[in-house]
């Protein structure tokens, strides 16, 4: 098999002047590349530096990131709750849309327990758990919810979670404060067992 049709001389290159337009194209290309990076992640004169490490796509700038982080205390409570709802595992049973699982985990959406006048019953359920039959929106459930009082130690955080479930998914409950939660926690500090539905119904929802 003859593998070679050329000579065995080493290759050479002809000399041809470089077209000037290539320099122009190079400049354009570099300019484009630079603008692309500055538009997507670069933040010239930004608070976090020109290439901020906190700015992740698609946030356009450090300033925009600051706006996304709520500072208003009323907004903050909801966001604390939104995060806590996932962090403490509520989302695993009650689902991201608050609908729960039919027959197993009660819905929070449109629930009369969640939308009650006040948080007394709901806060107790979260702190110490629930066991036995309960009716929510006309459906019966007979399972149990584990206590979360020792996991959610911060009153503001628990207030945030309760506020979140009372106001998300079309629910119409009022917000709840850290002081209200602290009061309920103090009132029930000796409770060790899970609540039953009829026990809770004996307690008024709001003070």
């Amino acid at each position: 098999m003859d593998p070679n049709t050329g000579t065995d001389a080493e290759p050479t290159a002809s000399s041809r002047p470089l077209p000037a337009i290539l320099i122009g194209i190079l400049a354009l290309v570099v300019f484009w590349g630079d603008s692309y990076v500055m538009d997507h992640g670069g933040d010239l004169m930004g608070k976090g530096g020109s290439f901020p490490k906190e700015v992740y796509y698609p946030v356009p700038s450090y300033a925009a990131l600051e706006k996304l982080n709520p500072e208003d205390p009323s907004k903050k409570l909801i966001e604390i709750g939104r995060n806590g709802y996932s962090y403490y595992g509520c989302i695993g049973c009650h689902q991201p849309n608050g609908m729960g699982t039919p027959g197993v985990n009660p819905p929070l959406t449109g629930s009369e327990w969640v939308n009650a006048e006040g948080p007394n019953r709901i806060a107790r359920i979260i702190l110490h758990g629930l066991i036995g039959p309960i009716t929510v929106n006309g459906q019966s459930f007979n399972s149990q919810m584990p206590p979360l009082g020792t996991a959610i130690t911060d009153d503001e955080e628990l207030a945030g979670i309760i506020t979140f479930i009372r106001q998300e998914w079309g629910n119409t409950g009022s917000p709840v404060t850290a002081e209200q939660v602290a009061k309920i926690r103090e009132e029930t500090k000796d409770r060790t067992s899970q609540w039953k539905a009829d026990e809770l119904l004996a307690i008024p929802a709001a003070d």
């Binding site: 290759p11 290309v29 484009w32 590349g33 692309y36 290439f51």
Partner: protein, 487 residues
Amino acid sequence: MTDPTQNPPAAASAVSTAAIDASCRWPLMVFFGKGVGWLMIGSLLLLISSIKMHGPGFLGDTAWLGLGRVKPAAMTALAYGFGVQFAFGMLLWMLCRLGRVPLLNAPFLFLAGGAWNIGVFFGWLGILGGASTGHAYMEMPRAAWPFVFVALGLVALWGLLTFHNRSERRLYVSQWYLVAGLFWFVWAVSVAAYLLVFQPVRGVMQAVVAAWFAHDLLHLWLGAVGLAALHYFIPKLLGRPLYSRQLALFGFWTYAFFAPWGGLARLSGGPLPAWMISSGIASNAMMILPLGCIAFNLYKTIEGDLKAARENIIFRFLFCGGVALCAGWLLQILLSFRTVSATTAFTFAPMAVDHLFLLGAFGLVGFGAAYYIMPRVSGIDWPSAKLADLHFLCSVGGLILHVIGLLLAGWVQGARINNPELDFMTAIKSSIPMVGLSTLALLIFLAGQAAFFLNTQKLVCRWWSPVMRECCASVGLCRSGKVEVES
């Protein structure tokens, strides 16, 4: 800068190409010979990992052959066992030929070949045994690296010395790519091994280093050697000069400045600040300029002569490799942009592009180079032209189908995963038929490599038996005394 140990330029009509080729014999026979072996192993394991997509129970009873181990073992065999070894062989031979100097004290490089293969073997075995590092293209565990670095050090040293001692002082295009590529590779692989294997960095920086290295391996080392080979063989085989030296220089400089920055585009969508990923996307897009210049330069060199040259199988390999390089970069640029990667990230599509670069842009060019180099350094002609033709058909055909299959699979997979209404398994299942095309293609590809392997083995055996006989005779082991001298 004359080296007194070299033939004085006036006295010799330069060193003959036959002498140069003969000087490279031992190391290159190891690099190419063993490289083809690893190519077979890698192709087989890649096929097995593809079959597992269709039947998860296939070879699934032991930990050793789990998909999570077979796939990285395949890529390690292909990248390090085949890719880098072929690159070593091509680098040394081209530097010798272009510098018009023989490879001095070449048998020492035999040590490099041995060390490299031992290291890669330990690494490969370690991956199958569960010691993979978890980083793509850097999976080999600690045990492999001392051998790898010894080999790399020897090759780099020999390469640099050969380049420094060249008697032809004018540089040709290929030498730019080879010397720069060698430097880039030594830097990249040392840093990556240190920061990922020996003293792992903290947190997501590991992913940054791994992506940076993967990109550099494919484009700054294998890519550079591939470009060196394209610029070397295409004009040589056609008997014509390269169209423009100035354009080649412009292409080289723009390649050198833009290419190193593209690594982090591989992590698009990932947990990195936006600027890091954007730098990769921008640089990938900017590569259109060097690639355009290089492609134009080579196209103008070939222009008009394509038909005649096509009969030459080496030219065919190189031409297809060049096309694969262009296609690979166009796809890479396309898949970099966030609007596209929103669908294609974490699918089979980026995998297709990687394979196109490793097996197409480098692989096909490497095959062509091997077909040219091996007979010349060994003195043995290729035993079978038919096997070579089969190798070509199966390699190119298999690769085209494989890449198309994976691209289609990736697109469907990505689009369906992004649709939250669809159940996840439904999304995956709908892409499996196209993965099937890719599996079939890998079978074809493997058949081609088997043909190459057979052809190479025969050549090596024909070269080796007289060597063995001569060796035995010289130490009195063989009494027949008949020595066939091949040169």
